[in-house]
Symmetry: C3
Subunit: 285 residues, 3 copies
Amino acid sequence: EVTLSGSSVFGLGYWEAIEEGNDTFSVMETYLTATATVQSDAGLEFGFEQTFGTYSTEDARAGDGISNDGTSVYVSGAFGKLSFGSVEEANDFADLPDIGGLNGLGVDDVAELYSDTGDNGDLFPGLGYNRSSDINYTGTFGAFTIGLSTNLNGPGDDTDDSSSIGLNYNFGDGYVGLGYVNTENFGEAMSLYAGGTFSGVTVNAMYTEFDPELDIDKQSAYGIYAAYTTGALTLSAEVADADAFEDTSYGFGASYDLGGGAAVVGGIGSVAGTTRAEAGVSFEF
Amino acid sequence: EVTLSGSSVFGLGYWEAIEEGNDTFSVMETYLTATATVQSDAGLEFGFEQTFGTYSTEDARAGDGISNDGTSVYVSGAFGKLSFGSVEEANDFADLPDIGGLNGLGVDDVAELYSDTGDNGDLFPGLGYNRSSDINYTGTFGAFTIGLSTNLNGPGDDTDDSSSIGLNYNFGDGYVGLGYVNTENFGEAMSLYAGGTFSGVTVNAMYTEFDPELDIDKQSAYGIYAAYTTGALTLSAEVADADAFEDTSYGFGASYDLGGGAAVVGGIGSVAGTTRAEAGVSFEF
Amino acid sequence: EVTLSGSSVFGLGYWEAIEEGNDTFSVMETYLTATATVQSDAGLEFGFEQTFGTYSTEDARAGDGISNDGTSVYVSGAFGKLSFGSVEEANDFADLPDIGGLNGLGVDDVAELYSDTGDNGDLFPGLGYNRSSDINYTGTFGAFTIGLSTNLNGPGDDTDDSSSIGLNYNFGDGYVGLGYVNTENFGEAMSLYAGGTFSGVTVNAMYTEFDPELDIDKQSAYGIYAAYTTGALTLSAEVADADAFEDTSYGFGASYDLGGGAAVVGGIGSVAGTTRAEAGVSFEF
């Protein structure tokens, strides 16, 4: 049996740094996901997940095919979970949430600049590259979770080789973790993660040291995210910086739960020295 | 919950004016639509709609991604309905039906030449352009419905700015309406619409005056569509003309309901001076 | 009503002949299929089928639209079945199974080199071409099944004209068949098919003679596939050759049923003179 579900955001965005086009523009993302699982006689679970995505109103209007927002399959059992396709990078298992709730302002991208470069290479043109795992193993042993991911692409593939490991320790409502990734033509990044929910406040923090293959200095990045929920209202704040940027990035966000899976969301901040803001609604189905 | 539904047509088409390829050719269109709605506690409705389309047998065979035939999201309530993405242009809310039932012969495109140019710019190479709204507001107040749409695309977008308004008044089984659109680099178009169902005959008519930005004369277009249903059979006729064409366009169509959502359909006509015809079946699921 | 179903394979592949990239690489294919049927009052059935596919881990990660693995529609009744779109070529109705169970090693492609060239033109660069039917009629009359397919593409189509016929005779658990295809700029291919299941062994065989339009000699190809199932285990073997290749191709495969639609699968062989192997899992949902 195949199950469909999805989510969407829409509203208005503002970006000070747009050179061409409107500073204030429509924002829209939609995700439609098909999932299916089967169980073997011995209790192994096999799963499939595929997401159709649009990332803007331009995408959403008639035109090319709807984007593949990621397709993955897995087998899981007592040994853990082995995934193929659009899988998690093992080292960035505790990436930070973003601020804004629509496209996101990208404050988290600053903190993840050296460790999650598959997503935000465009923020870092001097070291821009192309990394993405296609196989991930994740296993949980007591309070410890270990993840391993790598790239085993075949003929015609031009993705740089990359291998990563993640180690997470959970205690009560908190966690600490360690991530390491080594990418061909790019370098090594080691990340420390910590966070948890204490007295109604959720905190997520990360720090990364990056040792580039290019002949430049070692670099570091950090980010801290905090959120507080009271009734239907959630307030959030985030600060992040990386050696690649002159200015510290930060943002403030708010979300008001409307019930039924819908919320009013928004945020404002300064990312890599330019002001960004967005406001609108989100809903899940 | 996500609901899937769809429709398809297939059969044969004929076009006198094809320079390369078969005059008589296979015709096929398929549409698969996913829809979902959620209700907030206060009674707002949030909705999602995405259609996967193929437009010909070439499209339908293995190859590129299935086309995005439009993705939209909305929030609606007592204030009306606000849509983002692949939304209706407010000014052409009462566009004419086409003749044929498969691809359609395109008689309606002649009448809509100046007002619905997002769809049929290719009919009008001298003034071809690129218009499409990404935000639409529609509100109903008693017998009046008002629509507003515009384009708020963001970075990297090359769509011409365009804003439009539509006003509709319903009485019994009839309606009259007014549409206005102003498009950058193209001009202003004002349309009058009227129609209704009287004694089993459905009539739809429209007239448009177009004031181009280019240094050419004002232009006008009109179209009248009529259909009569008796038992399972529906007969239709349409005539349309625009100053851009030498010949008046017209067509005759028939549809025979087979039950279960299926029908035999077909039509023949002369569009912009060339003979076109098509016959086949349609079904909905 | 629209029904979703699908299948997936994943594991590792090996190909001796890869010039760039890993010899041993990740293998993954996913298929998600939407189907719908409606019945007219007179008992005609109208159907729709559309498959979204990814063919590798590269395909499965975020990027372009998910591939159209084929979209077709049909009407069927006492007269037989008429299909449009991504339809079966009438002449290759009894193509051989492949060895391996993941991507497949391609042993069958050697046997089908001259008759199923829509799929494997890349194996045959000297005669590579572009053939694909868009209309298929199939009718069953007693023990005989006849199929006809051709290409009626319209404006802008650059597919070579091609028409084919298939004739199949079933007796008990066996069949014999004949296929003929004539393709513009390519030539004529005549295939003989035979097979069946006898004492738990399934055998499929085919032989094709090809009369090229190019000024080269007539060519022939053949293939034999056999499989034996005992309990959860199925063993298979295949041998094939075509005049275009120096070496005979062959392969051995195994599949172990895990229940619930899942299986462990694998194979090893020599295809067109190079060693290929693959092993992994498959599941249906």
